[in-house]
């Protein structure tokens, strides 16, 4: 009995060691399996909006609900950035009166929202995407053309015995 216990604990230690090596390896050398691109949706004009169509390549990794929630939130954030309201008009008029020099010291509405988007994407990556071996790329790094989702090879935590 004692021997078995010892063997079990050794096995567990080995497993933990293997797991940590695996996750370390994954972090350092992730293998890209494929990249999925979510294109822009131009049905309402030139506003920044992404298509909500669930790509087939993600079917095994991610559930539809998470995906749609991510896309919808991003679309809402970009809509907020491009919203035409009192605040944006005030910003525009003030800028015009100061011969646009005010942009040298003030952050525009759009830039504020882009920072929100970056925070949201980081949070989504940490909570939803990285645990599923996926990675969301901030669309601003691709010129707001696409949302790039990198699909990494799914290295399951298989202990080596």
């Amino acid at each position: 009995m004692a021997t078995t216990d010892l063997n079990c604990s050794e096995f567990h230690n080995d497993q933990i060691a293997t797991l940590s090596t695996h996750s370390l390896q994954e972090l350092q050398h992730p293998v890209v399996s494929t990249k999925v691109f979510i294109q822009r949706d131009y049905s309402s004009g030139t506003l920044c909006k992404f298509q909500n169509k669930f790509p087939a390549e993600l079917e095994s990794r991610l559930d539809r609900q998470h995906f749609e929630e991510t896309i919808q939130t991003l679309n809402n954030l970009y809509a907020e950035a491009e919203k035409l309201g009192g605040k944006s008009y005030l910003e525009g008029c003030l800028a015009c009166l100061t011969a646009y020099t005010i942009f040298l010291c003030m952050e525009t509405q759009y830039e504020k929202v882009l920072r929100k988007v970056a925070r949201y994407i980081k949070e989504q990556n940490e909570k939803v995407y990285i645990p599923r071996s996926l990675l969301l790329t901030d669309p601003i790094e691709r010129g707001l053309r696409v949302i790039e989702i990198t699909v990494f090879e799914d290295r399951g935590f298989v202990p080596t015995s």
């Binding site: 131009y42 049905s43 309402s44 004009g45 030139t46 491009e82 646009y100 525009t108 010129g143 053309r145």
Partner: protein, 356 residues
């Protein structure tokens, strides 16, 4: 332009020798490159990527020169006389207009007009997969278009061979700058830059303020000469008497520029009110010539005020090309094979940054 120092490195040697990787890492740690240094379009950058201009600055020095010289002559020769005979506000108004004009001009010339960065290799490959090439063996596949519905109207999106992507609506590729520019209006040689989504409002304020400035100077010079001739002398005598006949030169410059500037201002006011671009207007994209099809501008808000507000006072979009960002190691590594030699300078510059 900073001198890009790089050595020609044989890509094959890199994949074999790990020792060279270490050297390169050291070199990279010495000098991180910014994205503007490897920008594929025909633009020039100053102040470490803060300022962007088209490669051919066109007639920008001439524009600046004309404005500065005319205003200089105005302040030197007309203002003293008019301050004495009319009011002290003349040089004040002139000064304010001059500052506004120059600031708008510089802002138009040195702002990124809305350049769309080119598609990455993965994106381009993904798009190629989606398009049915039907086994064409020619290097250049036939022109590709995609039709989409915008506000219940069919709009054709064209594929850009240089940027390797379907151009968003209202985007056009400028051959002078070799970039796709969003809401492309036109490439203005006077300003030395494209006029697009991000700098249209600066361009519009430039031409409007310039119209006011030229009209103001024109009016003041006429007033100056009239006042001089009123004191008993004839007009010609008055002109000869006025300091070194410079007001005449101002008159000539203003007279010829007023027609073109006022005309341009009027034209652009019409474009702003109907939410059109020069490009669309010239091509007649939304004119009723298209026959029985329901074609109107799908981007208009059907109200002059709304269109003006959207175009001129809308939120300022950010620059998409991130000129001052640093190149990450992944971006520096060209994942392209030797056959892809479309942008050789890009690959050559990145070779120096290749890490493993």
């Amino acid at each position: 332009m900073r001198n890009c120092e790089y050595q020609q490195i044989d890509p094959l040697a890199l994949s074999v020798a790990p020792a060279s990787v270490q050297n390169l890492t050291d070199k990279k740690a010495e000098r991180l490159r910014r994205k503007w240094e490897v920008f594929p379009g025909k633009n020039r950058f100053f102040c470490d990527g803060r300022v962007i201009v088209a490669r051919q600055s066109g007639v920008l020095p001439l524009t600046l020169g004309l404005i500065v010289v005319t205003c200089g002559l105005f302040f030197a020769f007309d203002c003293p006389f008019l301050v004495e005979h009319l009011t002290v506000f003349i040089p004040v108004i002139g000064g304010v207009l001059f500052v506004f004009v120059v600031l708008s001009l510089l802002r138009t010339s040195f702002t990124d007009p809305g350049i769309l960065p080119r598609a990455t290799l993965d994106e381009a490959a993904d798009i190629e997969k989606q398009i049915d090439t039907s086994g064409s063996s020619s290097y250049r596949p036939p022109p590709r278009t995609k039709e989409i519905l915008i506000n219940q109207q069919v709009v054709k999106l064209k594929y850009c061979f240089t940027c390797k992507m379907f151009r968003p609506p209202r985007t056009s590729h400028c051959s002078l700058c070799d970039n796709c520019v969003e809401r492309f209006d036109h490439h203005c040689p006077w300003v030395g830059n494209c006029v697009g989504k991000r700098n249209y409002r600066f361009f519009y304020s430039f031409i409007i303020s310039l119209s006011f400035l030229t009209s103001f100077i024109f009016g003041c010079v006429i007033a100056h000469i009239t006042l001089r001739s009123q004191s008993g002398k004839s007009l010609i005598q008055a002109i000869q008497e006025s300091p070194a006949r410079y007001p005449l030169m101002e008159l000539v410059i203003c007279f010829f520029s007023i027609w073109s500037i006022l005309g341009l201002s009027g034209f652009h006011t019409y474009l702003v009110a109907s939410n059109l671009t020069t490009n669309e207007d010239i091509k007649g994209s939304w004119s009723s010539k298209r026959g029985a099809e329901e074609s109107g501008n799908p981007y208009t808000y059907n109200s002059i005020l709304a269109n003006c507000c959207v175009t001129l006072c809308g939120p300022m979009p950010p620059s998409l090309i991130d000129r001052r960002g640093f190149l990450s190691p992944e971006e520096s590594v060209p994942t392209v094979s030797a056959s892809e030699i479309e942008v050789p300078s890009f690959a050559a510059k990145n070779d120096a940054n290749m890490v493993g």
